[in-house]
Amino acid sequence: MLEIDGLHCRYGKVSAVRDLTLEVKKGELVTLIGANGAGKTTTLKAISGLLAPAAGRIVFDGEDITGAAPRTILARGIAHCPEGRHIFPDMTVQENLDMGCYLRKEPGGIARDLERLFERFPVLAERRRQMAGTLSGGEQQMLAISRALMSRPKLILFDEPSLGLAPNLIETIFEIVSEIRAQGVTVLMVEQNAYAALELCDRCYLLESGEVTLSGSGEELLNDPHVKAAYLGG
């Protein structure tokens, strides 16, 4: 479904991602793990069009989307739930969700999806008239995820959805991610919490200083001595 071939990304003269090749198949949950600055967020930004790659090709559903505008890529079916939630703080919960379906034109479908989301996240329904900036961290993450879902993506990119949340909430967020995949949405997730990422995923890529150094099923990486030593605390 998503094929990335030889991707290079640069911030000025500094290479953030070098010759990255990865693939996500339809229905998969793939994770990207690695240390801070390994190029995980950069990779997601290149996919969603926030960043123009210096070289390489990104193909989605057989169509070359390299360097396309974010709204074109969103319209093709890729939603990006950014790191640090990035909800619109001075807009209501409802308005944030409205922004999530900004490009959609069918009011009937939007209303149905909204209803389903409110059933799944009753707290958002309760707070729909409240400013999003006043929500707790966990609620904001649920809003960010719901907002990304409102575009009805085929592929959803999660960037560190567990960042800065309490342990019990982190579990909830990962459950939500699994649920989303179970509903048939393909997931590519960046996660620093390597153990959780490997437990959850079908396949995983390890990024180190901008390059893929290892890839395989979650189980393979869990048992890999290098991963064990460097990312799973021995």
């Binding site: 619109f88 001075d90 922004m99």
Partner: protein, 290 residues
């Protein structure tokens, strides 16, 4: 007491157009991070368009006002498209210099086309004032105030109730995430600059018939717009609205009780006081764009 009431009334009426100027400038700064030095020229442009249609071409006065606003929007969109779009991502200093250039170019064009001689616009309102108990106000000013309030309310509704307005606020709050939602940031910039320019042109079109029209009339208007925006907090719609009215009151009181020669100085005195005690503006961060 009667005199005091009269000043309050005059201040309110003046404040309406000041608010229009301030809202236009604050939206442009808030959403685009552009310090728009050409704002005053849009004000002048609005006034000259009314002069052109109402006086030179003898068109209907009200039609001329509408045309001035529409053409203000068009000119704003053109400036954004030609000058600012290629500079997206450039530093604020660069865009500031470009806008200073636009200001000079527009002002000299006005001078060239219309000469430096002040022009007056006749309006269809009765000469005798509206008398309300102890105070009185000319009908043309009542009209100016009513239109200004309509435009302020309309802009507020546009920002809060429409899809475009939501996208503008989202862009203001988090540009990158707005792009991820599918917002066309370039189009939002054009729309914002066009709207802000249209409001400045509307202010000029409304005040042109009250005062006289001359090529440098926009300079003071621009300075006052900056004062209002600083007063209200950068990028703050409510702040700019209230800031406009506060400036109107302060000028009117200063002119009435101190000296009319210091009318324009009053606003700037106020800015100095505000900047000393509340450098982020009177209403900063309470409500941002919208």
């Amino acid at each position: 007491m009667d005199q005091f009431l009269q000043h309050i009334l005059n201040g309110t009426i003046l404040g309406g157009t000041y608010a229009l100027l301030g809202i236009g400038l604050t939206l442009i700064f808030g959403i685009m991070r552009v310090v728009n030095f050409s704002h005053g020229e849009l004000y002048t442009f609005g006034a000259y368009i009314v002069y052109l249609f109402a006086m030179v071409l003898s068109a209907n006065f009200f039609v001329s006002l509408v045309l001035a606003m529409v053409l203000g929007v068009v000119l704003g969109a053109a400036i954004e498209f030609v000058l600012l779009r290629p500079l997206r991502g450039a530093s604020i200093d660069t865009t500031m210099l470009v806008m200073i250039g636009a200001w000079i170019a527009l002002q000299n064009t006005e001078q060239l086309v219309w000469s430096g001689v002040a022009k007056s616009i006749t309006h269809p309102f009765p000469a005798e004032p509206l008398i309300l108990g102890p105070v009185s106000v000319s009908w043309v000013r009542v009209f100016v105030f009513a239109v200004a309030v309509l435009l302020i309310v309309g802009t507020h509704l546009l920002i809060h109730r429409t899809r475009l307005g939501k996208a503008m606020r989202a862009t203001f709050q988090d540009r990158e995430t707005a792009a991820l939602m599918g917002v066309n940031i370039g189009a939002i910039h054009t729309a914002t600059f066009a709207l802000g320019s249209g409001l400045a042109a509307a202010a000029g079109a409304l005040l042109g018939p009250v005062f006289v029209v001359y090529p440098t009339m926009g300079d003071l208007a621009a300075l006052k717009s900056f004062a209002i925006v600083i007063l209200g907090g950068l990028g703050n719609f409510m702040g700019a609205t209230l800031g406009g009215f506060i400036l109107g009151f302060v000028e009117e009181m200063g002119a009435g009780y101190i000296s009319s020669g210091y009318r324009d100085a009053m606003g700037f005195l106020l800015i100095i006081i505000v900047l000393v005690f509340r450098p982020t503006g009177l209403f900063a961060r309470k409500e941002r764009v919208g």
